[in-house]
Symmetry: C2
Subunit: 134 residues, 2 copies
DNA sequence: CATATGAATTAGAATAGTTCTAAACTTAGA
DNA sequence: TCTAAGTTTAGAACTATTCTAATTCATATG
């Protein structure tokens, strides 16, 4: 609970139990969970939490740079607690989304290939089979 | 109307006026329109078309490889009548989505960098400012 | 050309994900 | 401790999409 409140304070956000619980669940989680997954999970320890609070919290923390949203094909939003720049690998068989290091392909790198574009960000989604699904 | 019915027949799909109208609107269109945009546009010349038909048509034509869907951050689906492999550039200012040639970054190319992944497809979304927005 | 059969279309209902609302409650600061 | 601003809540509202079941249409066959 210490780190969470420190991070919230550092971003001028009120420290609330709900925010801390959401952050705690997400901390170190590499699953890219949906809002509903977060909601159901946090609800176990926090029975009165509202879905709206989870949505609000995700939005607030995202604006503060403490979370990001994964670029995925139209379905529900997937939340990413890894806010370092990185890419994603989506398994075409099991649907799992894995992190891929950014240096595999940086915006600079891409910008060199794509000289006619003014590239500030590059988001790469690789698709294939994950190790378990080969 | 000739080309459209030929393409439908080649894919064992019944030739209907609605399908042809959707295909005609999309043909040569580089805007990546939403289903609702297609619906409203086609409705002008075809007042009784149903939204469900547009959804059905987009799904059917996508399965047949005559259309694809653009990878975008959670909002409505964007339809792409350019089914060659290519990437996209999204303007962070005006939101426009432009096509980017595939050879700038192929799956093979990316696979060489990312040796530990079994990459079959790669989808790249570059972000920055388009020419009009610089 | 007439007919039959399966496929496609339609309007509207249903569903899913997300945002909004307004009242009640909490936090943080004076 | 008091206050003002910010947060939480349940549920309504909204938006995109899918489903339903009745109707219409396209195509194959005679
Ligand atoms: Mn990630
Ligand atoms: Mn495109
Ligand atoms: Zn897998
Ligand atoms: Zn622009």
């Amino acid at each position: 609970m210490k780190t969470m409140s420190t991070m919230l304070k550092a971003n001028d956000l009120a420290v609330t139990a709900q925010r801390a619980a959401v952050m705690e669940f997400l901390h170190g989680n590499t699953d890219h969970p949906s809002v509903d997954t977060i909601y159901k999970r946090v609800k176990k320890r926090f029975p009165y939490i509202s879905r709206a609070t989870v949505y609000n919290t995700v939005k607030t923390l995202t604006r503060a740079g403490l979370l990001q949203e994964v670029l995925v094909q139209q379905d529900k939003t997937r939340v990413d607690s890894n806010v370092s720049r990185h890419h994603h690998f989506k398994c075409l068989r099991c649907g799992r989304i894995e992190d891929v290091p950014y240096d595999i392909l940086t915006a600079k790198h891409v910008g060199e290939h794509a000289k006619s574009y003014h590239v500030e960000e590059v988001r790469v989604v690789m698709e294939g089979r994950c190790k378990q699904c080969r």
